[in-house]
C-alpha cells in the first residue's frame, strides 16, 4: 500500500502477517482492522490510522495553549479544551515564585503556552520549563480545528515558516487548535490570521505550500 486511503471502523486495511498493527488499528486473526475513522497509512510495515476529525486528545510533549481557570495553593489549573484540565505545578515554573504571589505569574483568565509533561490517572500535568512557554501578554489567538494543526505546521515546519516569513509575525501553534500570533503591527497579525484560515479551508489540496505561496503573492498586490 503506497497511497493513503480513508477507512471506517471495522474495515480491513491489510491482510496477512507482513504488517504490524499501529495506532487506531487492531489485529484480528490474519487481518489488520481499523478501529477508527481516518486515513490509513503504512510505513516500515506498521499500519496506522491518522484521525481526520474528533476532539483533541492530549499527548506527552505536546505544546498547547490554554486559559488559566483556577489558582490553587501549589499551582494553576489550565483549560486546554480537553475533558481533563491541565495542572501546572509551582515546581514546574523556572523561577522563584512567592507562595502568595502565584497570580503575579499567571492570573485567572490569562492565556498561556504550556507543554504537556505527562498524563496520568489524575489528569494532565503541564510544564513551562522550556523556551517559548509561559504566559501570553499580547498578540492574537485564533482557534482552528485541532485536526488541521499538522497542515498549518506543514512538513518539517515548511508551512508555518512560510507564513512567519511572509507576515513578519511570531506564531505558536498549539496542538489543541489554538494559534498564537504576535507581530509588530496589528495589520501583520490579521494578515497571518487570514493566511492560517486559508490553510484550514484548503487543507485537502495537495501541494498546499505552493498554493499558499501563490496566495501571498496575490495578497500583496
Amino acid at each position: 500500500m503506497s497511497e493513503r486511503k480513508v477507512v471506517i471502523p471495522g474495515e480491513v486495511i491489510e491482510k496477512g502477517n507482513d504488517f504490524l498493527p499501529g495506532e487506531g488499528t487492531e489485529k484480528r486473526g490474519e487481518e489488520i482492522v481499523a478501529l477508527r475513522y481516518g486515513l490509513a497509512e503504512e510505513s516500515n510495515r506498521l499500519v496506522k490510522v491518522i484521525p481526520l476529525s474528533g476532539v483533541y486528545n492530549p499527548r506527552r510533549g505536546n505544546v498547547v495553549i490554554g486559559k488559566v481557570e483556577l489558582i490553587t495553593f501549589n499551582g494553576w489549573v489550565i483549560d486546554i479544551g480537553t475533558a481533563e484540565n491541565a495542572f501546572l505545578s509551582l515546581t514546574e515554573v523556572p523561577r522563584f515564585v512567592n507562595k502568595d504571589g502565584l497570580d503575579e505569574v499567571m492570573d485567572i483568565g490569562d492565556m498561556a503556552v504550556i507543554k504537556i509533561a505527562g498524563i496520568n490517572k489524575r489528569g494532565v500535568d503541564a510544564t513551562i520549563k522550556s523556551r517559548g512557554l509561559g504566559r501570553i501578554d499580547e498578540g492574537l489567538i485564533v482557534s482552528v480545528n485541532p485536526n488541521k494543526v499538522p497542515r498549518i505546521i506543514g512538513k518539517e515546519g515548511s508551512m508555518i515558516n512560510l507564513i512567519k516569513d511572509e507576515t513578519r509575525c511570531n506564531i505558536t501553534v498549539g496542538q489543541n487548535g489554538l494559534v498564537w500570533i504576535k507581530g509588530d503591527k496589528i495589520e501583520d497579525e490579521l494578515y497571518a490570521k487570514k493566511a492560517i484560515l486559508f490553510v484550514t479551508e484548503k487543507s485537502f489540496t495537495s501541494g498546499l505550500t505552493e498554493e499558499v505561496k501563490k496566495w501571498f503573492e496575490g495578497g500583496k498586490k
Binding site: 471495522g10 476529525s53 474528533g54
Partner: protein
C-alpha cells in the same frame, strides 16, 4: 381468516427498502461528529459530543467511559403535532439505542468521561429508531470514537402472515387485517452479529429466523451507504 398474501400499497417488493436512502456526514458544525440518515420519508439527525467529563460526578465510571444516547422526536415530525420533551416512548428508545451501540464502541481509554449522542427525528414515517441508530453510528465514527465495527439497523414487519422489509407508516400503524402488523426492528454489526432486536407481537420460530435473514441482507446494503457517505465526506470536512 384471510390467507391472502399481503400486497404492498406503494408497490414495493416484499424485500425492498424505501427509497431514497440518503446519508450525510458533518451536518452540524458545532458537534464533534454528526450525521443525517434518511430512509423514505423518515429523517434522523445525530450529533456526538465528547468524550468529555461526566457530570454529575456520581455517574462517573472510573473503569471505562460511558455512552449516553438521547432520542427525541421533534414536535413537527408527525402530522399531528406531538408534545415536545421526553416521553415514555422516547426514554425507552434512548435506552435501546444505547444498548444497540454499546457493544461496538471502545471506551476503555476514557474513564470518568461520557460520549453524548443526541438523535433528533425531524421527519417521522415509521422506522425512526432504526434511522436514529444508523445516523448515530455514522456520527460516532465521524467524531473519531474508537469502534470495533459499524452498526446498521433496519426493521422487518409481519403483515398478517407475510414478511416485509422496512415498514412505512401505513404498514406499521394503520394495517389491521387478519393478524395485523408486527414490527421487528433489528441492528447488525458488519460481521453479522445482532446488537439489538425488538419484538412485541406473535411470530413463529421459523418466520423469525426468516425475518432475521431478510434484515441481515438489508443491513449490508445500509452499511454500504454508510461507508460511502463516510468515505466521500473527507474532502468536504471543514
Amino acid at each position: 381468516m384471510t390467507t391472502k398474501e399481503y400486497k404492498r400499497k406503494d408497490g414495493r417488493k416484499n424485500d425492498e427498502m424505501r427509497s431514497p436512502i440518503v446519508a450525510k456526514i458533518g451536518i452540524i458544525p458545532n458537534a464533534d461528529g454528526s450525521a443525517m440518515f434518511q430512509i423514505g420519508k423518515t429523517i434522523a439527525i445525530a450529533a456526538v459530543y465528547g468524550p468529555k467529563k461526566m457530570h454529575p460526578q456520581h455517574s462517573q465510571n472510573p473503569e471505562k467511559g460511558t455512552l449516553r444516547c438521547t432520542y427525541n422526536m421533534l414536535s413537527f415530525s408527525v402530522e399531528d403535532r406531538i408534545r415536545p420533551g421526553p416521553s415514555r416512548r422516547s426514554t425507552e428508545i434512548s435506552k435501546i439505542t444505547e444498548w444497540a451501540l454499546e457493544p461496538i464502541v471502545i471506551l476503555d481509554k476514557y474513564p470518568n468521561m461520557v460520549v453524548d449522542v443526541h438523535i433528533n427525528i425531524t421527519q417521522a414515517d415509521a422506522g425512526t429508531r432504526c434511522a436514529g441508530i444508523n445516523a448515530a453510528a455514522m456520527a460516532l465514527a465521524h467524531a473519531g470514537i474508537p469502534m470495533k465495527d459499524m452498526v446498521s439497523s433496519v426493521s422487518v414487519g409481519k403483515m398478517d402472515k407475510t414478511l416485509v422489509l422496512d415498514l412505512d407508516k401505513y404498514e406499521d400503524s394503520e394495517f389491521k387485517d387478519g393478524e395485523g402488523s408486527t414490527d421487528i426492528p433489528m441492528s447488525f454489526t458488519r460481521s453479522g452479529e445482532i446488537t439489538h432486536l425488538q419484538l412485541d407481537g406473535k411470530i413463529t420460530k421459523v418466520q423469525l429466523k426468516e425475518a432475521i435473514k431478510m434484515a441481515k441482507k438489508a443491513s449490508e446494503e445500509i452499511y454500504e451507504i454508510q461507508k460511502k457517505a463516510l468515505k466521500e465526506s473527507v474532502g468536504e470536512l471543514k
